[in-house]
Symmetry: C2
Subunit: 215 residues, 2 copies
DNA sequence: CGAATTGCCGACTCTTGAGTCGAGTGGCTA
DNA sequence: TAGCCACTCGACTCAAGAGTCGGCAATTCG
């Protein structure tokens, strides 16, 4: 097993790179087995190091989990589409598509489907706060879309929950290297949810080969 | 704490009733904290009994988890709409709505968002098999809807994954006793996903106060 | 009435896994 | 050469929790 999954490079920021590799590996393990189901020894092994070595980089298991959540939230936020020239619906569509792609892509920190109550109250508050930034952005897009008459009326919060469900679920079934590419999946899901939202009369919405191949 | 959550009743089938209460309680705990995050002592406490007593009804933790999965799958299957007079899309809508309602209702056995790899290979195979019955039914409805021109073309399997995501996610955010009733949520989600599937020209699809209140 | 069956639990064992300790290595700087 | 520092790990401690054991009620049945 290659140490640090060959993520090492040069000099000073080496530590940063290691930490990133560590978080990715940890997130992968947590995603797969849950917080309690993941042994730090497994993560260490995945990186080709020993458990005590892991503890040179990490305060404790809980904190590692916390960092993964933060990294995941940050990654989510980075996928928000800020192109204000676009209408709410299209901005939502693009955001969803790139969010999905980042979640199932090579270096995902996403750790969403998990026992948040394993965090301390303070940590949990912070995580929720960060995640709210993403959710709020989505809610705003929905409200804008509704104001523009492109999205059907209804509780924006409820709508976003539905969207996030379809979206977050992807980590449960997507298998890299299969028949479906990351792009196809991202565009397909984004198209699906936006069609679920769109008011009648809104023209066809972009999908992918997997869903609505012909328009 | 009332023993057995007051689920006891009369004579012989008493045991059956106790087992049901037990599975419900266990499913609730697993759903909340995951397999590894749930201590059998917690479940016992929730029922007002002790851990050794629990072992009079249960082979071991893994098996309890397994039974919950089976019960959940059975419950899911029981929500399938068999009214063959209806078209595929409407049948899908009704199934989704009642599936959601059963998941967030009082006695849910659903345990879906979880570390299935905690099961033995044999158990897992069985669970997947049972769950497939439900998924296959959904896939069939999608195919029928597509054949009828009511559902957009695309990979039925992919479509169903999307639908199940929006649907299963509900256990993550729904809080009983809040502003939203079980019916509203079920109908709202069902409307959302079916609209996401529907071909252009299909008339308005039923939703609820939470989404598409005015049609 | 007594004995068997069922439901129940206090108090144990034993395994797993989080987290620590102290010692060893190798590179860098003076 | 000496000394420091980042990095590493083998071998530990310790707590939590799965599962067991042996015994105590209470109800049922002969």
């Amino acid at each position: 097993m290659a140490r640090w999954s060959n993520a090492v490079a040069s000099a000073t920021e080496l530590k940063k790179l290691r930490e990133d590799a560590l978080y990715r590996e940890a997130a992968k393990a947590f995603r797969k087995n849950g917080y309690h189901g993941t042994a730090l020894e497994d993560i260490a092994e995945g990186l080709g190091i020993s458990k005590p070595t892991l503890y040179h980089y990490v305060k404790n298991k809980r904190d590692l989990f916390y960092q993964c959540h933060l990294a995941g939230a940050e990654q989510a936020i980075s996928t928000i589409c800020h192109d204000t020239a676009l209408n709410g619906l299209e901005r939502l569509r693009r955001t969803i598509s790139s969010y999905v792609q980042s979640m199932i892509g090579e270096n995902s920190y996403s750790v969403i489907i998990l026992e948040e109550k394993s965090l301390t109250p303070v940590q949990l508050t912070r995580v929720i706060h960060e995640r709210d930034k993403f959710e709020s952005a989505l809610i705003e897009m929905v409200l804008k879309g509704q104001a523009e008459g492109l999205i059907l009326p209804g509780e924006a919060r409820f709508v976003v929950f539905n969207v996030l469900g379809a979206v977050n679920w992807v980590t449960k079934w997507y298998r890299p290297g299969g028949q479906w590419t990351v792009e196809e999946v991202g565009e397909g899901i984004a198209g699906f949810v936006c069609r679920g939202l769109a008011a009648p009369g809104v023209g066809p919405i972009q999908g992918s080969r997997l869903f609505t191949p012909t328009l």
